[in-house]
């Protein structure tokens, strides 16, 4: 095998310029894919991070049917305290879960005593919410990054619209599940920057205050936001939780709860999917570049070396070995292009980070793009390039191995 590699490498070096050009083409393709994958991957990760870590959590548990009417924030589809306890027991015992936060969500009226508007509110246990949604505190543009009873955090657009400042007294009025109206006075403790997506313009109060406004003797739960220890195990965690909660059924034998990952809850999942689709097509382009360039160069190599092929076949080289010689040449070209491409690609990604590219994402401005190269991407791209290089050289190599020595020796 070493000898086959030696001959293949020397044949590649025999036509230095052509080898260099082909390797350069593959290199450019690899660099392009690597940089694109790194930048879009980082953008996607940042976008998902913003969505999950600043409002949504990685996944959520609701009572069956709640998500279908989530825009109405239906109080009659809340989870009762007893049922929530079962969820809490399951989540508390699940090793993959880092934190979870029960929320009581409702819609109400928000008044600064002179003007009134509507508001969506999340009643939360502040410690649990801050653990589950770690970027929530970073959204506090003014005021304290804590929430106590009697306090409210309001979205910045509401604060600006009604000219409410930190420390101001406001009133929240809401209709409870029986249709009666109740109100409660709060002090504005913080003003929240908007996040993107549903819930991005919600306000926050303590869950016990929410229960009081809604006249619930004990707080019911609209949803449970969950944070995982390892985000990459999202689908496994969803399946696991679904399995764990499947046993909780109503009188009709239907399950009471439903588990949704952020992907099912946020429209931005479609953008993430689009990024994946674009990356996929870029990879297809890379495959085409490698396939065409290697096949072209190997067809040329076979054509130029017909007499040589005739000679080695005449002196007894088996067809399989002749095939191997040319396939190894393609393989070496692929390896060369992949290695140089990966090195340059990593260097370009480092330069992108050094330059510091900033971008805006919805209400978030000046986000710093932090492109990173995933070793799995390096490996995947390299494997694609090498496998395609080998596949591209198979046809010319097969042709070489099937040549009749007598005809090849006659070739001028």
């Amino acid at each position: 095998m070493n000898n086959l590699f030696k001959i293949a490498l020397r044949n590649l070096m025999r036509y230095k310029r052509r080898t260099l050009l082909t390797a350069s083409l593959i290199t450019i393709g690899v660099v392009f894919v690597l940089v694109f994958t790194s930048v879009t991957g980082s953008f996607k990760a940042m976008m998902i991070g913003q969505i999950t870590d600043s409002m949504m959590g990685h996944l959520q548990v609701h009572r069956k049917g709640y998500v279908a009417s989530i825009d109405n924030l239906p109080l009659n589809l809340n989870i009762k305290p007893k049922a929530y306890q079962k969820i809490a027991d399951v989540l508390g015992a699940a090793p993959e879960i880092a934190a979870f936060s029960p929320r009581l969500k409702f819609g109400g009226m928000f008044s600064n005593f002179t003007e009134t508007t509507n508001i969506r509110l999340n009643g939360v246990y502040p410690e649990k919410e801050f653990q589950t949604i770690p970027l929530l505190t970073s959204r506090v543009s003014e005021g304290r990054k804590t929430l106590s009873r009697g306090e409210i955090m309001i979205p910045v657009l509401l604060a600006r619209g009604l000219q409410v400042k930190v420390g101001d007294a406001v009133v929240v009025v809401a209709t409870n599940v029986d249709g009666s109206v109740n109100g409660k006075q709060f002090v504005v403790s913080g003003i929240l920057e908007s996040a993107t997506g549903p819930g991005g313009r919600d306000g926050y109060i303590h869950i016990e205050d929410a229960a009081e406004v809604l006249r619930m003797p004990e707080a019911e739960i609209s949803e449970v936001a969950i944070r995982l220890k390892d985000f990459s195990r999202l689908s496994t965690a969803v399946n696991h939780l679904e399995g764990q909660l499947a046993g909780e059924v109503n009188k009709e034998g239907r399950s009471i709860f439903e588990v949704h990952s952020w992907e099912k809850l946020s429209p931005f999942f479609n953008i993430a999917r689009m990024i994946d689709v674009m990356t996929f097509f870029i990879k297809i382009m890379l495959i085409a570049i490698v396939l065409i360039s290697i096949m072209n160069v190997m067809i040329m190599a076979v054509y130029e070396r017909i007499r040589e092929i005739g000679t080695i076949a005449a002196i007894g080289t088996l067809p399989g070995k002749i095939l191997s010689m040319f396939v190894i040449e393609g393989f070496c070209l692929g390896v060369l292009g992949a290695i140089i491409g990966n090195l340059i690609g990593v260097a370009v990604v480092l330069m992108v980070n050094l330059i510091g590219i900033r971008f805006d994402f919805a209400q978030q401005t000046g986000l710093l793009l932090s492109a990173s190269v995933n070793p799995a991407d390096l490996l995947f791209i390299s494997v694609i390039v090498i496998v395609v290089a080998v596949l591209a050289s198979l046809q010319p190599a097969f042709k070489a191995s099937r040549m009749e020595p007598i005809e090849a020796l006659r070739h001028v």
């Binding site: 000898n3 020397r10 025999r14 080289t317």
Partner: protein, 234 residues
């Protein structure tokens, strides 16, 4: 027992709509350790005959046994294996592999065809390099040596596998007469030392005289067989 037995060999080629009869009923026997020449004008069938004996082509009719093997029955892979095991080739254009050095060119059949271990390879190559007078050129590439030297390397490459038969198609055609004689004499000396049968084709009458057995071909037929005895052909 004869190394080569050819009986009533025919070889026809289809060229477009025309069938070309390259050989008509050729028959001969060649003993081991012979130094044989196929002689004849262009188109007489010399190269066709060499290709058949060299297992590079198959007769259209007749039987051809080389080293006790009916080579017409071998498939493509078996033919390659047979050539690698029993035959050596010397080409008119030398056909050395340009990316390999003199040493590596001679090593090629041992390494890539017969899979001989490196230690054994080295001894055989060094011995042949000395025998063909190329020991001091072994690290040069084919484009760094002369035509005569290339043919010496080709002879060494043909002999390194210890074949029973070496076939040389016009081995001196691209050499000056002095070098041509040197190459033929080297082949003869190798025959003497290794008892390998050499068959070469030529149309150079001066070179023909070096063969011990001459088969004269015309229009695809052997018209004469001459055997050298005491400096003269009978």
């Amino acid at each position: 027992m004869a190394l080569i037995v050819a009986d009533n060999i025919h070889k026809d080629y289809q060229v477009g709509d025309v069938v070309v009869h390259a050989l008509h009923g050729v028959g001969f026997e060649i003993e081991p350790a012979s130094f044989v020449s196929f002689v004849g004008p262009s188109g007489s069938g010399k190269t066709t005959l060499l290709n058949l004996v060299g297992c590079l082509d198959k007769p259209s009719a007749g039987t051809l046994r080389v080293a006790n093997t009916d080579i017409a029955r071998l498939d493509r892979k078996e033919s390659a294996a047979f050539r690698g095991r029993h035959l050596g080739f010397i080409f008119q254009d030398f056909n050395l592999i340009p990316v390999l050095t003199v040493y590596e060119n001679i090593e090629y059949p041992l390494m890539m065809v017969q899979n001989v271990p490196p230690a054994e390879r080295n001894g055989r190559i060094e011995r042949l390099l000395g025998a063909v007078g190329m020991a001091d050129q072994k690290d040069k590439y084919p484009d760094q040596i002369s035509g005569g030297q290339k043919q010496r390397v080709a002879i060494a490459r043909a002999l390194v596998t210890n074949p029973e038969l070496v076939l040389a198609d016009e081995p001196t055609a691209n050499l000056d007469s002095h070098t041509a004689y040197a190459v033929i004499n080297l082949m003869k000396r190798m025959r003497d030392e290794l008892s390998t049968t050499f068959i070469f084709s030529t149309h150079d009458q001066k070179i023909v005289g070096e063969a011990e057995v001459i088969f004269r071909l015309e229009d695809g037929v052997i018209v004469a067989k001459e055997t050298k005895r005491g400096g003269n052909y009978e």
